[in-house]
C-alpha cells in the first residue's frame, strides 16, 4: 500500500463515521454507483475480463481473475483496489474516463468494509411487500401530513378569478381531486413567465399541488412564489435558469415529492438546500452540475429519495457479431 493510501484511509474512515457510520445500502447506493461507472463495460452488453457488475450473482461470481469482493476487506477486493490506483496506473478502473469521485470510492470501501451486504435476503416481491405493510416513519420530529387527498377535502374551492387569470395567460389547469380543490397547473406552454404569472400562482396558494414551470423564463427571484404553495408536491423546473440559492425557497414546501431540475444550472449547493424535504421521492438532476458527492449527500439525508441522473444512453457497441444497432427498417 502506498504511503498516500496509508494516510488517506483513516481519513476516509472518519468521513464514513461522519456520514452515520452505517454501511451503504447495496440497492440504493452501490447499484447506482456501479451502473453509472462500471456496468457499461461490466454488464449485459460487454463483459470485460469476464466480469459483470449488474447483479448480486454476477458480483459474487467475480471475473476471470477470481473474486472481486472480499467482504470486510476492501483493500484486498479488486472492486475497491482497482478504483483507487493512481490515475496513470494501467490497471485503474474505470479504464476509460475519469477516476471515481472521492465520495464514490468511499462508498465502495465502506460497503465492502461493512460486509458487502446485498440487503434483505428475501425475494424482491417479498421485500417490496414488507415495505408497504410497514411504512418507514419519517425520522424528522415534525412529521408532515402528505396525504393530499385528505388535505384537499378540507380545502375550499379555489378562486375562480385566479384560475381564469392564469388560464388567459396560457396555463393549462386540471383538477387533481374530486372537489376540484387541488390543481395541476402547467405554465410550460405559457412563455415568457412574468411577475403577473407568479402573482396569479401565489393567489392560488394551497390549491397548487402540481406545478410545471419547465422551459419557462421563471427567474430565481420569481421562484420565491413557491413559498406561497404549501401543498406543492410536484414541481417541474427543467430547462429554467434558476440558481442554487433560489432552491432554498423550496424549504417552504414540506410536501414536495418530485422535483425536476434537468438542464438547470444548479449543483451540489442547490441539492444541499433540499435535505430538509422529508417527503422527497424523486429528484432529476440530468444536465446539472450535481456531482456524485452532492447526490450521495442528498440520498443520505432524505431516506427514500431517488436521484435520477442523465440517462446513460451511449450508442450501443457496434463491434461484435450480435449487434442489434444497425438494422434494416421493418416493413
Amino acid at each position: 500500500m502506498t504511503l498516500v493510501m496509508r494516510l488517506l484511509l483513516p481519513c476516509l474512515a472518519l468521513i464514513a463515521a461522519a456520514h452515520g457510520g452505517e454501511a451503504p445500502d447495496y440497492q440504493k447506493q452501490i447499484v447506482p454507483l456501479l451502473e453509472a461507472n462500471c456496468v457499461s463495460c461490466h454488464g449485459a452488453t460487454k463483459q470485460k475480463g469476464g466480469l459483470r457488475l449488474d447483479s448480486r450473482a454476477a458480483i459474487e461470481k467475480g471475473g476471470k481473475g477470481g473474486a472481486v469482493v472480499i467482504a470486510g476487506h476492501p483493500e484486498q477486493s479488486p472492486l475497491y483496489g482497482r478504483v483507487v490506483l493512481p490515475e496513470d496506473h494501467e490497471d485503474i478502473m474505470p479504464a476509460k474516463g475519469d477516476p471515481l469521485a472521492q465520495a464514490d470510492r468511499e462508498l465502495l470501501r465502506a460497503w465492502i468494509a461493512g460486509g458487502a451486504s446485498f440487503g434483505d435476503e428475501a425475494a424482491p416481491a417479498d421485500k417490496a411487500d414488507a415495505a408497504t405493510t410497514a411504512p418507514v416513519a419519517p425520522e424528522s420530529a415534525q412529521t408532515v401530513d402528505t396525504d393530499l387527498d385528505r388535505l384537499a377535502a378540507a380545502l375550499p374551492a379555489p378562486d375562480a378569478a385566479a384560475i381564469a387569470a392564469l388560464a388567459r395567460r396560457g396555463a393549462r389547469i386540471v383538477a387533481l381531486s374530486a372537489n376540484g380543490a387541488l390543481l395541476d397547473v402547467d405554465c410550460s406552454h405559457a412563455q415568457p413567465f412574468s411577475d403577473a404569472d407568479a402573482a396569479a400562482l401565489r393567489a392560488l396558494g394551497a390549491h397548487v399541488a402540481w406545478l410545471d414551470l419547465g422551459g419557462t423564463a421563471v427567474t430565481s427571484g420569481q421562484l420565491e412564489l413557491v413559498t406561497a404553495l404549501p401543498n406543492l408536491s410536484r414541481l417541474h423546473l427543467e430547462r429554467t435558469a434558476v440558481s442554487d440559492a433560489s432552491l432554498r425557497h423550496l424549504q417552504q414546501c414540506p410536501r414536495l415529492e418530485y422535483l425536476n431540475l434537468v438542464d438547470v444550472p444548479v449543483g451540489d449547493d442547490g441539492l444541499a438546500r433540499l435535505t430538509g424535504l422529508r417527503a422527497l421521492r424523486t429528484v432529476c438532476v440530468g444536465g446539472t452540475m450535481a456531482t456524485d458527492a452532492g447526490i450521495a449527500a442528498l440520498t443520505a439525508a432524505v431516506p427514500g429519495v431517488t436521484v435520477e441522473r442523465a440517462a446513460a444512453l451511449a450508442p450501443l457497441p457496434s463491434d461484435g457479431e450480435d449487434k442489434p444497432r444497425k438494422r434494416k427498417k421493418k416493413q
Binding site: F118, G180, E308
Partner: protein, 422 residues
C-alpha cells in the same frame, strides 16, 4: 358564399388556430371545480402502451423457467434485481429491471389474435353489434384534454383492426400513424396550395357541409366538424414539431433502434412530453409458430433496444415518474413446442409489465407454476390491467351509455392492482 360569411368563417378558423375558440382557454370555475372524471389524485399523467402483436412468448422473455424442458434452447439471464431473471435476449431491459413491475400471472379468455388484441386494447370481450372504445379513447373521454392542439391519443404502427374510438365520437379516436419516422403525413397543404387557397377550400367544404349539419344536429355529425377544426389548428401549431424525429440527435435515434418500433418509442416520448395522454406503440412479429429460437432472438433484439432506451430516456428526463409504461400482448405461448420448433397461442398464462407512473420498481406481481402453464398466484385479468391504468390516471370509471343506451364503464368489471403502486 358571400364575403361576409367567408370573413366570419376565417375569423372562426383563426380562433380555432389560435386556440381561443370553442376549446376555450378561459374555463369557468364549474369546469375546473367539478371535474367529473377525477376520482383520486393521479400518480400518472400519461400512458405509453407497448403492444406486442401476435402473442409474446412469456417463457422466453419475462417469465423464464431455466432448467426445465419447457424452456427449450433459450436460456435465462440475471437482471438488476436479485432473484429476477429474463430471457437471454433481453440484456438491456434486464439492466432496467429495477424500474419494472412484472405481471407474471396475466390470463385471458381469448386465444385468437383478433379477439385477443381487441380484448387487450379495450378491456372488453368482442361481441357482435358493439364496438368498445380502446384504452386511449377511454382516457380521452374520461379526462380533460391537456394539450388542446394535439390529439389525446396516438397509435404508432398499428394495423387496420384497431378498435379506435369505439362507440365514442370521432373526437376520441386515436390518431393512427404507420411510420413514426415519416412524421405526420399531410400536415402541410399540398404543393402549390398556398395559405389563401387552402382557406378558400376549407370555406367551400364548410359551405357544402352547412346544409347537412343544419338538418342533422347530432353529436356524431358535430364531431366531424370538430375534427376538421382540430386538424387545421394542428397544422398551424408549433406542437406539430412533436412529430418530427429529425429534431432528436442521431445518436439517440440510433440507440432507440432504427426499426419502426424503436423510432415509435422515441416518438412516444416526444408526444407525452407534449401532453398527449396515451400513445400505443405496436410491434408485430410475435406469432412464433415456427423457428422459435431464431425468431425470438430477432424480436427480442428490437424490443430490448427500443423499450430499454425509452425507459432510461424517460427516467433521465424525469418523465417516467408521470408516465405509466405498459408492455402488453394478447396472450402468451405454449410451454410445449410444436413439431415446427414453435410455440402456439396460449392465453391461460402470460406476462406483461408496468413501469413508471407511480408503479414500484423491481417488483413481481403473481407467478406461474414451474412450467409456465398456469397462473398460480394473484391472477391478473385483462380488465384489471385497464383498471390499473385508470387508477394511475385518477380516472373515475363512471358509467357511460353507448349510443344504443347500454351502460359501460372503463375496464368493465376489472379491479385495479393497487398493490403494484409505490
Amino acid at each position: 358564399m358571400n364575403d361576409l360569411s367567408r370573413r366570419r368563417f376565417l375569423n372562426r378558423m383563426a380562433n380555432a388556430c389560435l386556440g381561443v375558440g370553442a376549446l376555450g382557454l378561459t374555463p369557468s370555475l364549474s369546469a375546473i371545480g367539478a371535474e367529473p372524471g377525477v376520482r383520486r389524485r393521479p400518480t400518472a399523467k400519461n400512458v405509453i402502451m407497448l403492444y406486442m402483436a401476435g402473442g409474446m412468448s412469456h417463457l422466453d422473455t419475462f417469465d423464464p423457467k431455466p432448467g426445465t424442458a419447457e424452456q427449450g434452447a433459450l436460456q435465462a439471464i440475471p437482471t438488476s434485481v436479485d432473484g429476477m431473471s429474463f430471457g437471454q435476449h433481453l440484456p438491456l431491459l434486464a439492466a432496467q429491471a429495477h424500474r419494472l413491475t412484472l405481471l407474471r400471472s396475466m390470463t385471458s379468455t381469448q386465444g385468437a389474435h383478433e379477439q385477443g388484441e381487441y380484448f387487450m386494447r379495450t378491456g372488453f370481450v368482442q361481441r357482435g353489434g358493439i364496438r368498445h372504445p380502446s384504452l386511449g379513447a377511454w382516457i380521452s373521454h374520461s379526462s380533460p384534454r391537456i394539450n388542446p392542439t394535439l390529439p389525446a391519443s396516438v397509435v404508432l404502427g398499428g394495423g387496420g383492426q384497431h378498435p379506435g374510438a369505439g362507440f365514442f365520437t370521432a373526437a376520441h379516436a386515436p390518431l393512427p400513424l404507420g411510420d413514426p419516422a415519416a412524421g405526420l403525413p399531410a400536415a402541410r397543404p399540398a404543393p402549390g396550395i398556398d395559405d389563401e387557397r387552402f382557406r378558400r377550400r376549407l370555406a367551400l367544404a364548410d359551405a357544402l357541409d352547412a346544409g347537412y349539419r343544419a338538418g342533422n344536429d347530432q353529436p356524431t355529425v358535430r364531431a366531424y366538424g370538430d375534427l376538421y377544426r382540430e386538424a387545421c389548428a394542428l397544422m398551424d401549431s408549433p406542437d406539430l414539431a412533436a412529430f418530427d424525429l429529425t429534431k432528436e440527435p442521431e445518436a439517440l435515434r440510433d440507440r432507440y433502434g432504427e426499426d419502426r418500433f424503436g423510432q415509435g418509442c422515441l416518438l412516444a416520448r416526444r408526444l407525452v412530453e407534449n401532453d398527449v395522454r396515451c400513445v400505443e406503440v405496436v410491434m408485430g412479429g410475435w406469432d412464433t409458430h415456427d423457428d422459435h429460437a431464431e425468431r425470438i432472438a430477432d424480436q427480442c433484439a428490437i424490443l430490448d433496444q427500443g423499450a430499454s432506451a425509452l425507459i432510461a430516456d424517460l427516467a433521465g428526463r424525469g418523465l417516467l415518474d408521470e408516465t405509466l409504461v405498459i408492455l402488453a400482448t394478447e396472450f402468451g405461448r405454449t410451454p410445449t413446442f410444436n413439431e415446427r420448433d414453435g410455440r402456439d397461442h396460449y392465453p391461460k398464462a402470460f406476462s406483461c409489465w408496468l413501469a413508471g407512473g407511480g408503479v414500484r420498481g423491481g417488483h413481481v406481481h403473481g407467478a406461474t407454476d414451474a412450467r409456465g402453464a398456469t397462473a398460480t398466484s394473484a391472477p391478473v385479468q385483462v380488465q384489471d390491467l385497464h383498471a390499473t391504468a385508470a387508477h394511475a390516471l385518477g380516472l373515475a370509471r363512471d358509467e357511460v351509455l353507448s349510443p344504443a343506451g347500454r351502460p359501460f364503464r372503463m375496464a368493465d368489471k376489472g379491479t385495479a392492482l393497487t398493490s403494484v403502486f409505490a
